[in-house]
Symmetry: C2
Subunit: 256 residues, 2 copies
């Protein structure tokens, strides 16, 4: 048995999310990759593990996966086969043999997500699947100030979807940057040792309310302290969210 | 009767092209706009004229159209209604009242088209609908040299699709630039007083053959002189092509 780690990129628009679904006629990234790997493995099923799940319509610039094959393969040939035999909306950027005990989820890692927001008055048709949209006034410095409260080790219960099964909701955020990258686009960047279900989209939705002057800057602190989801803003649209990079400790950077 | 000129942008991916089709269940830009205008005009049909047709999957950053309405309207309210009541993949950027004798096709104008080419080994999933793809070697300076032969007034019969009904195939090209805009993207820019059916995609397909060393640089001169379509390269894929700007003489620039 040989374990392979791969870096993949996908346009989430036409997927129900990363995770394979039991429903038929539903496309998932995991399902599509397992279909190609099965073909490449003489018809025998191959399981794919992802560093984390992404929701329907959420994108990845560099998601990391691993899978096992019974024989050793040439890395570049394997990458090429996976890339070209899979669907057009998933690219396989790198394939690398790793030790049998490497695990994309259990090995210590840090992740970076980006959220792109189109602030044009007439929503840009080229961004309709690739950025959230907000046509009202936004005060960038208010959002930047509020984002500082997110940095550090906190219980993020107030920013996750209610009814999540994960017990421990303490996570550490090391980066929460917001910048205007061109006239009509704002980019949010979040790095940390892990994020809860819908946490980033809820943080963005809250920051937008603050930027639009409909919540005080200190609301972020209150949501963390109270663990009350009802104090947070709405969940931002999925199409603006990108898994940008997964960095494993004691390893080279895997992102782009 | 009041005539309005509008600047629109569209993602051509899910359209059969600009022009309205008699077939049912086929989306066209003209058809979608006429549907919205009819609603805004108390159910009475309104015809839309475009500065030129774009093919299926071809995009527009700033296409110019005109149409007539029986009453005067507030320009910004009309723009907002057209933009928000129409589909997400068409944006209406500007609406302006013009004189009754203005005509998007007959008024003298110059057009600029861009063609984006993704040269990544693993085709970028985010560009699969927004750039052509070429994974083989390309010599940029060979293409730039060849493109110089396109500049000027020429009969472009050799670069158009055979069987076109247009009689006069003489056009003037004022710009034919090719540049590397990032590590994996090449941008072609063509400006001129008009382009024949599939002319730009045929010019790009030919330049790619030249860049890949499978045609001599002088082939462009030969294709123009011989008017022989068989000497040209294949038609480049539509998803890389963008109508970038339409400039009317004695008017301000309409592009973005």
């Amino acid at each position: 048995m040989t374990r392979y780690k791969a870096i993949i990129s996908y346009d989430g628009t036409n997927f129900s999310g990363f995770q394979i679904q039991t429903k038929q006629n539903v496309r998932s990234i995991q399902g599509e990759l397992e279909k190609v790997l099965k073909k490449l493995n003489s018809g025998n099923p191959v399981g794919v593990q992802g560093s984390g799940r992404t929701d329907a319509r959420v994108h990845a610039i560099a998601q990391v996966i691993h899978f096992d094959l019974p024989q050793k393969r040439d890395e570049e040939k394997l990458r090429f086969a996976l890339d070209t035999q899979g669907p057009d909306d998933i690219a396989v950027l790198e394939v690398e043999e790793v030790s049998d005990d490497f695990h994309v989820r259990y090995n210590k890692h840090e992740k970076t997500y980006e959220y792109l927001l189109d602030t044009s008055k007439a929503r840009d048709p080229f961004k309709r699947n690739y950025a959230g949209h907000f046509r009202y006034d936004l005060n960038l410095s208010r959002m930047q100030e509020a984002a500082k409260y997110l940095i550090g080790e906190h219980d993020f219960t107030g920013f996750t979807a209610s009814g999540t099964s994960v017990e421990n909701k303490v996570r550490t955020i090391t980066q929460a940057d917001i910048e205007q990258i061109d006239e009509n686009t704002i980019k949010f960047t979040f790095s940390g040792n892990g994020f809860l279900y819908k946490q980033i989209r809820n943080m963005v939705g809250t920051l937008l309310k603050i930027g639009n002057n409909r919540m005080p800057v200190e609301q972020v602190e209150k949501i963390i302290a109270s663990k009350d989801r009802n104090l947070a803003g709405p969940t931002a649209a999925p199409e603006g969210l990108y898994l940008k990079e997964v960095r494993y400790v004691d390893e080279e950077v895997n992102g782009y």
